[in-house]
């Protein structure tokens, strides 16, 4: 019901949603977020996603555990890819399921905000001027802060 997977393969949001909800007809709401590689010939041509095996899974599980203490979730799942990805490809999937929509939607936003600053992934983009490591965004730090109370 609460699980994370770090994989190089692509994922299917419909299949993941079905697997998450099929055993529980008390779930009325499923929210999801999918991150995609943005890019073009003139900007990002491909991306390499590095991660810290072992710690990544622990960090993602800790985020799901935190979300469970805040919202009445029936199920949640994170799938995050690593390795080489092209523009338009799926990077990350967050799924949250609850009886009510507010919990599912808010928990989904919360998990993404925390994932952005807590999960040990690093992106290296390849573009017309060569490869460069993506800088962390200040706005991601402040997005995490909005949940602290």
């Amino acid at each position: 019901m609460f699980s994370v997977t770090v994989q190089s393969a692509d994922f299917d949001v419909a299949a993941e949603t079905k697997a998450l909800t099929i055993a529980n007809t008390q779930i009325g709401a499923v929210a999801s977020f999918i991150g995609l590689v943005r890019g073009s010939e003139d900007s990002v041509r491909s991306m390499e996603l590095e991660h810290y095996p072992g710690m990544t899974e622990r960090a993602l599980e800790a985020i799901l555990a935190q979300a469970q203490t805040r919202w009445p979730l029936d199920a949640a799942r994170i799938v995050h890819r690593f390795g080489r990805l092209e523009p338009g490809e799926q990077i990350v999937l967050v799924l949250t399921a609850s009886r009510h929509r507010e919990a599912a939607l808010e928990a989904c936003a919360f998990i993404m905000d925390y994932l952005k600053t807590q999960a040990p992934f690093w992106k290296k983009e390849d573009g017309p001027e060569g490869a460069r490591w993506v800088d962390a965004r200040e706005s991601d730090e402040s997005a995490t802060d909005r949940w602290s109370d």
Binding site: G35, L49, E50, H51, Y52, G54, M55, R58, A59, H80, I91, V92, M112, L115, K116, T117, Q118, A119, P120, F121, W122, K123, K124, W133, V134, D135, A136, R137
Partner: protein, 82 residues
């Protein structure tokens, strides 16, 4: 102790992990000071300490965290996943 490096820190140092004898070191900062003396690549990797993150046994830590009983310590830049 296993010491791990990720992203541009790994590239600057030129390796993803190594064994370091941490006898006599108390905190992650002591380990950094030692590593900075190991060559130009290490110096560059630890040049901007505000951009260095530490994990001890796969848990987020700080430079002042004790490393006495740790099996694995990792250094990496701010994360950019998602």
């Amino acid at each position: 102790m296993d010491v791990l490096y990720f992203a541009w820190m790994r590239e600057r140092i030129g390796r993803s992990s190594e064994q370091v004898d941490t006898t006599g070191m108390t905190t992650a900062r002591d380990l950094v000071e030692y590593l900075k003396g190991q060559g130009r690549g290490y110096e560059l990797a630890f040049e901007k300490m505000h951009a260095v993150r530490v994990a001890i046994d796969q848990e987020v830590a700080t430079l002042d965290s004790p490393i006495g009983h740790a099996r694995e310590i990792a250094f990496f830049p701010p994360v950019t996943g998602g």
